[in-house]
Amino acid sequence: MTRKILTGIAGILVALLIGALIMLAEGYRPLATYAALFQFSLFGLSPLATTLKNSVPLILTGLSASIAFASGPVNLGQPGQLAMGALAATLGGLFLHLPAGLEIPLLALLAMAGGALWSGLAALLRIAFAMSEFIVTLMLNMIADFFTAWIIAFPLLDPKAFSPMTRQIDRAGWLGEMGGFSGSVLFMAAAVAMSWFVFRRWRAGYEWRISGQNSLFARLGGCNIDRNFVSVMLFTGALAGLAGGLVVMGGPHRFLKGLGANYAWDGVMIAIVAGSGLIATLLYGLFFSAIQTGSLGMELITDVPSEIAQVLQAVLVLVIVAGREFVRTALDRAEARRQARERAA
């Protein structure tokens, strides 16, 4: 645990250093840039609230990827599941008109169902036809992308809009702000807490984790591998779908072009950096969100384009992951050498 934290912090420092070198090479001032980056994401109530709000889709898709990777299924379908979740929530918001106390939870549930439907399709193809979920989920991402693009361009197009988007959802489905903090943060916190509980404390989560670590052992121990596979896919799909629903309900209140942005892939990246740990996913998600949120403000007061955030993120991932693996092999090697020496003596 301590080693994980130490390599994480060291990795972040090295990555920021590499980022600084890139900026120097481009002729920017790294210190001033980083100062602006964190000034606009962490210092003050309003930047912090924005960072938290932006972290919602990152953390939820990251959690989805973390739980999937740690349990075995290579679910890389978060982008598609997020889009389908957002679509389901939008559909609900357009055609259901209930009081807010019912509408909001219902839309969240619909979003989860939308995401689970899309991941469930991949699970079905895997169980019934042994089609690798890895490629299937990737292909379903593209299909969901085009499908939602069609929905918002034709059947649900807002006639008053200049670019493809739906009408706004019922006002009862809007997630308001509480003390400057978006209501979607509450949903995220609940989802994180529940995921942690299911994954770490429930029997189902135990079976998932064991199946992920050693599928043969899990089967001999009496776990139903297929059933666990399906339930993990449904659970992680629902998480990614919820991310999409919350983006719609807390943000533009409609499905518009480019809604999913790069959230889901960033989420996958976060899961990878976090080594599929749930708490680590939460922390790295907040950190990545801080970088993304701050980069927009940074662009305003420095010349550095906000796209540097994407470069910084990828460098972070590579450096932290490689550092972690490198330390592990180095320690293993030292241990092996020590044992060899003991045996020789």
Binding site: M131, M139, N141, F146, M269, Q310, Q313
Partner: protein, 296 residues
Amino acid sequence: MTVLIGILNGMISGATPILLAALGGAFTYHAGMFNIAMEGMMLAGAFGGVMGSFFLHSWPAGILCAILASLVMALIFILFSVVLRTDEFVTGIALNLFAVGATTYLLRQTFHVKGVFAGPGIVAIPKVAIPLVDRIPLVGQILSGHNLLVYAAVLATLATSYLVFSTRFGLRLRAAGYNAACLDSSGVSTTRIRIHALLLCGVFCGLAGAFLSLGYVTLFAENMSAGRGWISLAAIILVSGNPWGIALISLIFGLFDGLGLLLQGSGIASQFTSMVPYIATLAALYVYSIRKKGRA
């Protein structure tokens, strides 16, 4: 008849980038690596191609820069997965995202545009008419007049097949995948073989990228590889890395790609026609799994 020729020509140009990338991936597949970085290498290649062609005003320079950009990605992959022994899957995913981020950033930095860079300054790779063949009616229209890289892809298929199955390097390559410990104990470094395989993959993906940005279209768009790297990965898995099998699968995908383009004229929404290659991939996976079940 013109429709048929249109479909066939669409098929050939749709197949080329997938074929080139998949041939590159075939080397790493045979070397026993789980290389999923073709997508990122191709994207980097596409960007490098536009850079080289625009600033050096020539398409050969564009191709060269495309290969160099893709090789940079391959070198990063080597550094992380072979030298530092990071998980290949993780490295691949991170590298793909790095390619998207870096090209988007560089697009903004060098050309000061967001999304798409197109301009008359980009020199496209020329189309080549094959002498004699282009005089034959019908056959000439189908076989001749394609982009130079289309013919390069055909040669690449031949070369890959020869390299993998008929040379000492190919034997070692397959040994690295079949039994790495055995290869190491016979005095050949598996690490070195894998590095060579990745470099070859970089070159091929660079060519695929150059075809995307200087042949298929003459522009660079954010994330323009659009999942072709993943489709090429599927193609490799479907035929267990056999170059001729890859060529066949790529042509089938190209056919659906071309059909999608053709259907756009018929009133079906373009979003659905764009889905076709991805659905075709799912269908191919389905057929593959059914066949495998039948054999077992």
